[in-house]
Amino acid sequence: MADATAFDFVCAELERATSLSLLEARGTLRLALKAAGVDARSVTAPQLRVILDKLLPGELRKRGCDDAENVCREIGVRLGSGSFDGPTADSPEAVFARLGGGSA
């Protein structure tokens, strides 16, 4: 799991817990990320937990997943117990926070 990104981890969990294929799971998660204003390449585990809580259940229900809330809650718990890279200090928001005198 050390080499897998948080995004890949959630996609694999979605494939396992729902009837979606891996490709469909990735597409569904990408739609939720787009709605959240987050990129798949840079999304962090804490961001994904919020998206799992607030946006992904709706996307899954649209694709016929009846138990979307529980699926997302379980994936969120598994995500929390995993080890993934944290937010990077060179993301645009970290740089602009620093430029204004805030912490990175």
Binding site: A35, A36, G37, V38, D39, R41, Q47, V50, I51, K54, L55, D90, P92, E93, V95, F96, A97, R98, L99, G100, G101, G102
Partner: protein, 245 residues
């Protein structure tokens, strides 16, 4: 109208100088590249370059000094605009090969224009006629300002979506909006001035006042609020969070 131009242009130069020096001091403390690049860009383009090019245009009675100033301004433009291009690539599109290509090509194009002008017809000819390869500088300026403003605006839209989910900081989101405003106001000033010059319109005090005055002031205020925000402004942004930060 000359007063309007002086206020707008003066505010732009002052804000560029103060903000850039603060960012360069920050770069010295943190040792990070983005603050060095943006500080250098603002200092060389707005703080020193803009007044220098204005002075050079007014010094037609002393051709040798005018030639030296135009040549020096060209070097400042190469470094300053290059710094802003590299900042935009490294901050917003760090992982994108095309963005690296754009930033490096941009610097190569500017360096090419500078070398071409130096080799022939030379800077004395440029000072006399303001024609030649270096007269294409405004095209480069428009590109780098539009790229910087556009990327910031795109990222601001993403952060606004994140704000709704509690995934972004209100003040930082506003800072990206302000940087976009500063860059796009500078772009609009350059675009209108370049367009008018291309159409053969004489840049009188009245014309300059209408263009440079208000837009220079907007750019200066946005820059100041972005990087040297007064406590009251930050409080206001926090209080109005969610109403279009």
């Amino acid at each position: 109208m000359l007063i309007v131009a002086a206020i707008g242009g003066g505010a732009f130069v002052l804000a560029s100088l103060v903000v850039s020096l603060r960012l360069l001091a920050l770069a010295r403390r943190t040792g990070e590249l983005p603050e060095l690049l943006i500080g250098l860009g603002l200092l060389l383009m707005g703080g020193v370059g803009y007044p220098l090019s204005t002075a050079a245009r007014l010094l037609s009675d002393t051709p040798s000094l005018q030639t030296a100033l135009f040549a020096f301004h060209a070097v400042l433009s190469l470094v300053g605009q290059g710094a802003v291009a590299v900042f935009t690539w490294r901050v917003f599109r760090r992982e994108e090969p095309w963005a690296r290509g754009v930033a490096l090509s941009f610097m190569a194009a500017l360096a090419g224009l500078l070398l071409w002008q130096t080799a022939a017809p030379g800077w004395r000819a440029y000072a006399a006629t303001q024609a030649g390869p270096w007269s294409y500088l405004p095209v480069c300026s428009l590109f780098v300002l539009a790229w910087a403003g556009g990327e910031s605006l795109v990222y601001h839209r993403k952060l606004k979506k994140r704000l709704a989910l509690g995934l972004a900081d209100v003040v930082t989101t506003d800072r990206l909006r302000l940087w976009a405003i500063a860059m796009l106001a500078a772009f609009t000033t350059s675009f209108v001035a370049f367009g008018l010059r291309s159409l053969g319109v004489e840049m009188t005090a009245a014309v300059t006042g209408v263009v440079v005055g208000p837009l220079g002031l907007i750019s200066a205020c946005a820059m100041w609020l972005a990087f040297l925000p007064p406590e009251r402004y930050v409080t206001w942004v926090l209080a109005h969070a969610g109403k279009g930060a």
